[in-house]
């Protein structure tokens, strides 16, 4: 291996790891602060510069947490499978870190000859393939702990991730179909100048489906059944402590960044935004800002929505998300052919019809899935 290639690879990968690990630290602080505000608390506000009374709004909290995690005792249960107990957090972190390189983040220090994995034909497929490995890590952790709560959490996670992966991929199919490429750079390139996929009926429907499925894939609230504290302690990482737990935590947040990044690439135009003609380096800034928009919505939802029940979760994936994402593919296919005609009136009619079809289907499915709920009968009260 030549030295230049090695340097190119390092230039392409090391900044990603540094930037996203830093963002992770900041996000944990942001999440705790935001949740605290939603719940009418203050949140972390003490840790600032050491040996002084300067608080800095608690911005030192992530560093303090990190130090605490490293020095905590590593406890492995006696009955646990030691090898798998060790491997699971590592297996959780590797795929989520790996998929970051498929995001079309055009950093200013990358030039024409740099290694760019997102220009690979099939970057989107690679993204989905590698994200799927997270399921295995979760199952591994749940199984290796030899704890019934861990195993239950692992089983829930596998069932949930397998179910929601289908609408996730099917909604991405629409964008791939429209662009005619699996190359992440090309998908982002098509949408430059505000021509984002989210601004069309089928694109918007796909975007909403993608976002909901992404929440479920990353085990975020309201889909955080695998780690439901009130039911199964902490789910698959009940038996993890110290740095292994920190690795799980890191993997989960990096996966959130990655899937938000893919949503930005597919539906929100990647690094597209105002001011790119003047300063091309703004592209990476816009990209990260859009990712943070997603993270903010995720935190907001976590503070607002209650957790789903298991049967609601499965029913929602298979009876609502799957049919509507398949219908959306058909709608997008017809719309693509209609737009090929190039007639403005036909385009407008297509928009109206597809909007009506998607809205009608959503309402109809909602009606169909509504269980037979009778009004509550009060026996001992009036």
């Amino acid at each position: 291996m030549s030295l230049e290639l090695l340097i190119d690879i390092l230039i392409a990968t090391v900044p990603l790891m540094l930037i996203f690990a830093t963002l992770f630290a900041f996000t944990t602080w942001l999440e705790r602060k935001a949740l605290a505000r939603i719940q009418n608390r203050i949140g972390p506000n003490k840790v600032g510069i050491p040996c002084t009374r300067i608080g800095l709004f608690g911005l030192g909290q992530p560093a303090a947490d990190g130090i605490k995690m490293i020095f905590k005792e590593n406890i492995v249960p006696r009955g646990a499978d030691r090898l798998f107990h060790l491997l699971a957090p590592i297996l959780a972190l590797i795929p989520s870190m790996l998929v970051l390189c498929f995001l079309p983040l055009d950093f200013p220090w990358l030039n024409e000859d740099s290694v760019k994995a997102f220009l690979l034909d099939g970057a989107v497929i690679f993204f989905f393939a590698i994200t799927g490995l997270n399921t295995l890590a979760v199952f591994m952790a749940g199984w290796a702990s030899r704890n019934k709560y861990s195993l239950l959490g692992g089983m829930r996670a596998v069932a949930q991730m397998v179910s929601y992966e289908i609408p996730l991929v099917l909604s991405a199919v629409i964008v791939v179909m429209m662009v005619g490429s699996l190359n992440a750079g090309e998908i982002a390139g098509v949408q430059t100048g505000g021509n984002w996929f989210v601004f069309s009926p089928w694109g918007f429907a796909a975007f909403v489906i993608f976002f909901i499925a992404a929440l479920a894939e990353t085990n975020r609230s309201p889909f955080d059944l695998p780690e439901a504290e009130s039911e199964i302690i902490a789910g698959y990482f009940t038996e993890y402590s110290g740095f292994k737990f920190a690795l799980f935590f890191l993997a989960e947040y990096i996966a959130m960044f990655a899937i938000s990044g893919l949503a930005v690439t597919l539906f929100l135009g990647g690094g597209d935004g105002p001011g790119l003609a003047v300063a091309p380096w703004l592209s990476a800034v816009w990209f990260l800002a859009k990712i943070f928009g997603f993270i903010a919505v995720m935190i907001w939802l976590r503070g607002t929505l209650p957790r789903l029940r298991v049967d609601q979760l499965m029913g929602f994936a298979w009876k609502f998300m799957l049919p509507i994402s398949i219908l959306n593919i058909f709608v997008a296919g017809f719309a693509w052919h209609a737009e090929q005609l190039g007639n403005r009136y036909i385009t407008v009619i297509t928009w109206v019809i597809s909007l009506a079809v998607l809205y009608g289907a959503a309402c109809g499915l909602n009606q169909l899935n509504r269980g037979k709920v009778r009004p509550r009968e009060y026996k001992y009260a009036e």
């Binding site: 099939g122 799927g132 596998v158």
Partner: protein, 173 residues
């Protein structure tokens, strides 16, 4: 040179994974060893510049088949993994014969130095080319396969639902 080193490393991973998968008595360990084998295979595809097949290998075999195996094991009593029952399959000699036969057939061409049936054409192993091939000459095959898979899916759902007795339904409500 680089490719050769990578080939040997990936082959070693694949072969070791396959061996462990067969030899391990613990089912879950076996499944994960099988997944290591799939990963090694996907690396070998990448080495052949067949990136799409490598990605699909990870997506289908590791992401779907592996998870399906784990799912199936989770629903059995042997999810704990400790299993000391001795299991000897009676047909292992036939299996050995079959394996040897397949190996010999695969080796025949290089040993006998047969000319390849048609001269290899230089193709670009790209996703685009693959898509054009699937949509142009092989579109009927693709559609038949899709139909077959849909039929299998509907069949699986029907089989899973089972036969419902009308009386039971009444008593549930």
């Amino acid at each position: 040179m680089n490719e050769e080193i990578a080939f040997w490393i990936l082959s070693a991973i694949a072969v070791l994974g396959a061996l462990v998968a067969v030899r391990k008595r613990n089912l879950i360990h076996g499944v994960f060893a099988l997944l290591v084998f799939f990963a090694g295979l996907s690396g070998l595809f990448l080495l052949l510049l067949a990136e799409f097949i490598a990605a699909v290998q990870v997506l289908v075999y590791i992401g779907a088949v592996g998870v399906l195996l784990l799912f199936a094991i989770m629903l059995t009593e042997r999810v704990a993994g400790d299993d000391n029952r001795r299991m000897t399959s009676r047909g292992w000699r036939w299996g050995l014969v079959m394996a040897a036969a397949v190996f010999v057939v695969l080796l025949l061409r290089p040993i006998q130095k047969w000319p390849s049936p048609e001269p290899p054409q230089p193709i670009k192993p790209s996703v685009e080319e693959l898509g054009k091939k699937l949509m142009n000459p092989y579109v009927v095959t693709l559609e038949v396969l899709a139909l077959l898979l849909t039929a299998a899916l509907i069949g699986a759902v029907t089989a899973a639902q089972g036969v419902r007795m009308p009386k039971e339904e009444d008593s549930q409500e």
